[in-house]
């Protein structure tokens, strides 16, 4: 296909998306002169170009459309719903022809006689409005020249992204090498290289970012057509359309989003009569809202319809044998409602052309989970339901936890890791649970629940497995699974690469990557692990094991015990700590102020908890506290343990920096006042950030 035609197709496709939106706006505000002239201009451009390229069918169609639009613009015709529908039909016709063009390079056979005739009939109508009221033909100037853009194929960007990913890996490798010799001449240029690499990475990532609005552009049209088909009146509200996310992620959530909006329109919203009877406005509302939250994008799809019918879901669950009556009786409403996300589940009383075939939400859920996202829902009877999708910003680089089982190392995506638990070995003293067995199936009492365990070394048939006792608690859809490993290393930013085709059948791996030290490592897929061990999805019953909102039961609190400048352990509530880190001591820098360390692409100030912090070892244990974007590190001598206790402060503190003394693990322990210590560093707003996007 020649270049002219290719360019024309790409440009026209963009114009058409713009047209859809503009036409719907026109329908709402029929005399918006600006929108009218925009529409006219878009159609006019298409017509002009196709005349030039010799595309007669397209030209005839757009010409007829342009005529009608011309009269609308001149004000001799009012933009009624009927006319807008006709023009939308023209847009569809153009799309059809374009599809044919891009497939074969020639206009498809057939004609648009009926449509053109309809347009001509509209043209023949007498002027409805006096031409005198004609608005100014076009707003002054066609807007500022705007930012300059060039068209780059996605392939080029993808290639750049791959190269940058490699560069990041090589940089990490260099940094790791440079850590060993004390001060070589490499240190300074390496640091510079490191910064430039981070900037470059950020820049290239930015080129792949697209506003989520791109995935939404088809929705207004979809909702309008649905409303007509279903005889409902629907208002679509979109907020946060400029929230940016990776192109690849965007592509993958497009279909699930469309599906969910369709579901809202069909199942969620009631027919107008029903709404009126319920005292609600006749026009139903579907709200889409996208926003950033902590390295993720959250997308909410809400409607103000009837909400999920828990009774009907309950009946359906019973009928399909997904749970017994007794089990259902013990479930909360929210948990029962989650069944709509399981496979083959549809409560629609009848199958409509729009939805209700039972191949809905589970597909959405699978798609979202495939990109490492999660989906949740809340629903209030009579007031509507709200689905929340949480997805990562990008798939290219993810943070992963490196673990060891047997003699091999593996990476587990941090996104699915909920917590790490160290089980007590049988016979070992201390607190914490031991791994128990029910007929050889290991389980762990985690707080108030039983956590199913999978021994990684057994699952992967590795030899040399020791009595592993570290448990990576991973979220698998709605359930939790504990992956038992021998050792846990650090987290590392990794570039996920797909595995070679001959290994695709091994579902426990989602990919492989190269670590900073140059070694190849397999990335574990917690979903695959759960499937391989039969902790299958669908058994949402373990959802509550998560107990995310209530990490400690019966008034007890998880306390972190550590030592700092003394033999007596000190305690701090674990919930306040963002992370525990061991940082190499030589990476601590002092630059006119408190000691700082480069942490996740930023400077993190360090506070010493006591005068006599032990400086003998090569690493420094740090408790990282986070306050929004700011992180502060508290240097301690040694991290001792995590215990759960009631931790009631019984004696108030005698000196500043301590809250008081509590009985923890049977011993009187001082609890530190984190506020006091963190206040020692005042965060100034960063003037220049070179944060590497994870």
């Amino acid at each position: 296909m020649d270049d002219l035609l290719t360019d024309f197709l790409a440009e026209t496709a963009e114009s058409l998306a713009e047209l859809d939106v503009a036409l719907l706006r026109l329908e709402r505000t029929p005399d918006d002169a600006e929108t009218l002239s925009l529409i006219f201009r878009l159609v006019h451009t298409v017509k002009g170009t196709c005349g030039f390229l010799g595309l007669p069918r397209l030209e005839r169609l757009t010409h007829a459309g342009e005529n009608v639009l011309g009269r609308l613009r001149d004000g001799t015709l009012a933009a009624s719903a009927e006319i807008v529908t006709l023009v939308l039909a023209v847009v569809d016709g153009v799309r059809l022809i374009l599809a044919g063009l891009s497939a074969t390079g020639a206009e498809p056979e057939g004609g648009d006689a009926a449509l053109i005739a309809a347009l001509d009939r509209v043209m023949a109508k007498p002027a409805a409005i006096a031409a005198a009221a004609a608005p100014p033909s076009r707003p002054a100037g066609t807007g500022p020249a705007g930012t300059q853009t060039i068209r780059v194929t996605v392939d080029v960007l993808d290639h750049l992204m791959t190269l940058v990913s490699e560069l990041v890996l090589t940089r990490n490798q260099l940094l790791q090498l440079a850590r060993t010799p004390q001060d070589s001449g490499f240190a300074v240029p390496l640091q510079r290289l490191s910064h430039i690499t981070s900037d470059l990475q950020e820049g290239v990532m930015k080129t792949r970012m697209q506003p989520i609005g791109n995935a939404w552009s088809k929705l207004p049209r979809l909702v309008r057509d649905l409303a007509r088909d279903l005889g409902k009146s629907i208002d679509l509200v979109m907020a946060g359309a400029d929230t940016e996310l990776d192109r690849q992620v965007l592509e993958l959530i497009k279909d699930p989003l469309t599906h969910m909006v369709r579901n809202c329109a069909d199942h969620g919203l009631e027919p107008p009569e029903e709404r009126r009877a319920a005292g609600k406005p006749e026009t139903g509302r579907i709200t889409l809202h996208a926003f950033h939250e902590g390295g993720h994008i959250l997308i909410e799809i809400a409607d103000d319809g009837r909400g999920l019918d828990t009774e009907r879901i309950r009946a359906k669950v019973l009928a399909q044998g997904l749970a017994t009556e007794a089990e259902l009786a013990a479930m909360t409403e929210a948990r029962i409602q989650r069944y709509v996300l399981s496979a083959g589940f549809s409560t629609a009383a009848e199958v409509t052309s729009v939805s209700g075939r039972g191949v809905g939400m589970d597909v959405v859920k699978t798609n979202v989970e495939r990109i490492g996202g999660t989906i949740d829902l809340t629903s209030t009877p009579g007031l509507g339901s709200r689905f929340t999708i949480k997805i990562p910003l990008t798939l290219a680089i993810v943070s992963a936890l490196v673990v060891q089982a047997g003699t091999e190392r593996f990476a587990i995506p941090q996104l699915s890791v909920v917590e790490l638990v160290r089980a007590r070995r049988p016979g070992e003293s201390g607190t914490g649970s031991v791994i128990e067995r029910i007929d050889d199936t290991p389980v762990l009492r985690l707080r108030e629940h039983l956590l199913p365990l999978v021994n990684l070394a057994d699952l992967l048939e590795l030899d040399g497995a020791a009595a592993a006792s570290i448990i990576v608690v991973a979220q698998v859809g709605a359930s939790m699974v504990g992956i038992v490993v021998d050792r846990v290393f650090d987290t590392e930013e990794i570039v996920v690469k797909p595995v070679t085709p001959i290994l695709r059948d091994i579902t426990v791996f989602s990919g492989n990557t190269i670590l900073g030290d140059g070694s190849v490592i397999m990335i574990l897929d917690p979903n695959g692990i759960a499937r391989a061990t039969g902790i299958a999805a669908g058994s949402a019953s373990r959802r509550d094991t998560a107990a995310v909102d209530a990490p400690c039961s019966a008034g007890s609190t998880a306390m972190l015990l550590f030592r700092a400048g003394g033999v007596q352990p000190l305690a701090v509530p674990l919930g306040l700590i963002a992370r525990l880190e061991e940082i190499p001591r030589d990476s601590i820098e002092t630059s006119a102020g408190p000691p700082v360390v480069q942490y996740r692409g930023r400077l993190m100030p360090l506070v010493s908890l006591s005068e006599g912090v032990d400086v003998s070892g090569s690493t420094q244990a740090v408790l990282v506290f986070a306050d929004g974007e700011h992180r502060t590190g508290l240097m301690v001598d040694e991290i001792v343990d995590v215990v759960e206790d009631r931790a009631e402060i019984e004696l108030s503190a005698a000196r500043p920096g301590l809250l008081g003394t509590a009985v923890i693990g049977g011993r009187a322990t001082d609890v530190i006042d984190t506020e006091f210590w963190l206040a020692k560093v005042s965060h100034t707003r960063p003037v220049m950030t070179t944060e590497a996007r994870p």
């Binding site: 490699e166 091999e408 070679t500 001959i502 290994l503 059948d505 091994i506 492989n512 190849v520």
Partner: protein, 169 residues
């Protein structure tokens, strides 16, 4: 092992000769077309891949790209290399993916006339016949021309069949 490069005794022009990288596996000389070879690597650290077919030795890092290593001895149902012996790999590309064939030794590049390659003798063991594209008579020894594409067509579901019937064949 050293080899004399086969010269063009028949007076055939050199251009018609096909170039092959020669390698040894369990004492047998083999050849793979040089055009398909991306790299020759000395012994490399290889990450084992659990649950993979036995022919897959693991994966290795070649300048930032992940290469899947195929153990040629296992693929050809030969006994494993004696402990402590080193291996080399011949890296080839297929379908955008890199694969390394683990062999005992890589020798040199050799030109062979297409006419000098004879079909497999019918008595060739099945494991060899499956991956041999023909046999070439050299002065001192025989060279098996390997079909790389078939060598790389490792199937996960066929893992039991290939490795466990190996001893029988």
């Amino acid at each position: 092992m050293s080899l004399a490069v086969l010269d063009h005794r028949d007076g055939a022009p050199e251009e018609t000769n096909r170039q092959y990288v020669t390698l040894t596996v369990a004492g047998q000389l083999c050849g793979v077309p040089v055009l398909g070879v991306r790299d020759i690597l000395a012994e490399q650290p290889i990450t084992r891949i659990p649950l993979a077919p036995p022919e897959v030795a693991g994966s290795l890092n070649l300048r930032g790209r992940i290469v899947t290593a195929i153990d040629l001895r296992r693929r050809l149902r030969l006994p494993p290399a004696p402990a402590g012996s080193t291996s080399m790999s011949v890296v080839t590309e297929q379908g955008g993916e890199l694969y390394a064939l683990l062999v005992d030794q890589v020798s040199e590049v050799m030109g062979l006339r297409p006419g000098a390659i004879e079909p497999n003798p019918p008595t060739l063991p099945a494991a060899w016949a499956a991956f041999s594209a023909g046999i070439c008579r050299l002065d001192a020894t025989l060279l098996v021309v390997l079909d790389v594409e078939r060598l790389l067509a490792v199937r996960t579901d066929g893992q039991a069949g290939l490795s466990r019937t190996a001893e029988a064949g």
